[in-house]
Symmetry: C2
Subunit: 373 residues, 2 copies
């Protein structure tokens, strides 16, 4: 199953593991795939710490996933520091949204954060805040791959990353987005079906993948959205994918820094328990349906704001969910795809990689046998 | 790609073509797959005519698809004739629904049906009306396969069909439904992902298929939802499917009795142009989004009624759409899956079968090559 992108990255299997946890990223890279660390939750300084740790623990290479949305509130405002941009955007949050968010958390008995515990509100959800992250990445030679989650990255970022000998790609949920990526000269696209976790479009993987693969010609397409076992990887590769981009499945591995109460939510969920909602980030993202998502869905409650304003409203809830996962279990932010229904037990990351390969081989053999081979 | 169910049916390829058009059904059966005629639009008398025609034109075997919903209004009302049941159900349609439907059509300039042109309203959407259809099927020896679209068929129907040497199966959109089918002793399940056309659940094919395949053990699973090319069939077979159940792709074949204006709607649509809506049948079904579906989605308009009441309201629109497809092009009932984005030209049915096989073989070869074969 070694494809050209494996050669370019120097990895054994085209298994890309998106995760917010450096331990998982390292484990996958060291098992022959490649861990891709989600950077959006980190300041540039924090990201530096994470990547330094990865440099030390990864034998080969790893990747970093940024979020520079192609459309967001505050876009085109130049010359402001991240804090100044945050202050400016905060003015655009209408009255009532923060109060509503606070009420949902209070109604569920989720304690407030300890007094004095400050957190920035904007995170890496803009070009202004993601820019310094790119500079951090370029200082880490094992950070060999950069992916952008929500659109074609700005041309200067593409040039910076590529001229440093790294590969840069981006996620897409439509043929149009994929062609934008190709025209911007990206090295690969990650094509994600609607069943995927986090930000996701409306077209299913089975229908989207072949369309994107045909549309972008020889640009490698990594198949994303719904992949949790090796049979699905065989399916993706049979359709012409250059690899498998996985995410949800790494939320229930032993190494994941997911609190037990939240991990339990994932393990207990079926594929019917997810919803595509704007209730956390402001753009449609798939997550477990719960009292938070339902509250923002109702017609008699505030509508979610555009990115990044909604996350500025919701981030306090994310942080309180991290700190008090038991209390927050019905209002937590649990991004995950429909494949959650296949996630039934906690495994070691390396074992997941091994299982994916094994299932892939079995699926190929099944097909060969069927064809009289 | 010959699987056990091919042997049992005596067909060459496990390609199942659901269609409302006998010409398409015959062409697919004669090309080595099996055409499955949708019976819901026909009275028992009309179905008799269709199957007699098929007997004459099909060399091998064909199938028939019924709609006996496992839940519907009027369920359990016994001892009424179809007309009596229809009259009784008509009383349950609230004031305003028929007027609203009529207004949508009138606003778009869709002419009324010629005066005196009567049509029954209930069709085959109940056990009462589908029962006589089963009797018709049993009189036609080449009608070797029966599938039920909306739930496990009643036990007496299962017994009748199986004791006559035919196979009976049913569609499912969840593991739970699949297990109900298995427990009822059905011969196969058709497992349809949310991207499929017509009545469909919420879980994508890629995620649903492997779960159902694992859940039902050795019961053959036909993969449905999103299949329009042979690469997707290879994907399904790699995941363990026993065959491919297709539908949408037969709407734009040369033999389809789809009016040119409607066929043009399908050919022009992208995968983004479908919606899962209750606006025609009362149960969620995927179709092209248009002014009709939007009208019923709005919060200031009547909500769609449960099955079969909504179709009793909407059927006049279906009939007028058939008769005046040009006028009705923005309010027509256009059931189709997301695979519509792959349907770009009119092909002959036999050529579609040939193309599916060819693409399947190519996909298998791609996989073999990747694996060093």
């Amino acid at each position: 199953m070694r494809t050209e992108i494996c050669e370019r990255l120097g990895i054994e299997f085209p298994i890309f593991a998106f995760t917010h946890c450096r331990d998982v990223a390292a484990a996958v890279s060291n098992a022959g795939g490649i861990g891709v660390l989600g950077a959006v939750g980190f300041t540039a300084e924090e990201l530096e710490v994470e990547l330094a740790w990865l440099d030390e623990h990864v034998h080969g290479v790893y990747g970093v996933d940024l979020v520079i949305p192609s459309k967001y509130e505050g876009q085109g405002i130049d010359g402001l520091s991240p804090q100044e941009l945050e202050d400016k955007l905060a003015e655009a949050v209408p009255d009532g949204h923060r109060e509503f968010a606070e009420k949902i958390l209070a109604d569920h008995g989720v304690p407030a954060l300890p007094e004095g515990e400050h957190h920035n509100q904007l995170l890496g959800w803009t070009a202004t805040t993601a820019g310094p992250q790119v500079e951090v990445i370029l200082r880490h030679p094992k950070a060999k791959l950069v992916a952008n989650a929500l659109g074609t990255p700005p041309q200067d970022v593409v040039a910076q990353v590529q001229s440093s000998g790294r590969l840069i790609g981006a996620l897409c949920g439509s043929v149009k987005h994929a062609l934008n990526h190709k025209n911007a000269g990206l090295d690969f696209v990650v094509c994600q079906g609607t069943e995927g976790g986090g930000h996701t479009g409306e077209i299913s993987s089975l229908v989207l993948w072949p369309q994107v693969i045909d549309a972008v010609g020889d640009l490698p397409v990594l198949a994303a959205g719904g992949i949790g076992n090796g049979r699905q990887i065989a399916a993706a590769m049979a359709m012409g994918a250059a690899g498998a981009w996985t995410g949800s499945v790494w939320l229930t591995v032993e190494e994941a820094n997911v609190p037990p109460a939240q991990m339990q939510s994932y393990l207990a969920a079926t594929s019917h328990d997810t919803v595509r909602s704007r209730a956390w980030t402001g753009k449609p993202a798939r997550m477990l349906r719960n009292d938070w998502t339902e509250a923002w869905e109702r017609t008699d409650t505030p509508d979610p704001l555009p990115m990044p304003l909604q996350m500025m409203v919701a981030l306090n809830g994310v942080k309180r969910g991290h700190r008090y996962p038991e209390a927050a279990k019905d209002v937590n932010f649990n991004p995950v795809g429909q494949v959650v229904g296949l996630m039934r037990k906690v495994e070691r990351s390396a074992d997941v990689v091994g299982r994916l390969i094994e299932e892939y081989v079995e699926a190929c053999e099944r097909l060969n046998k069927l064809n009289g081979g």
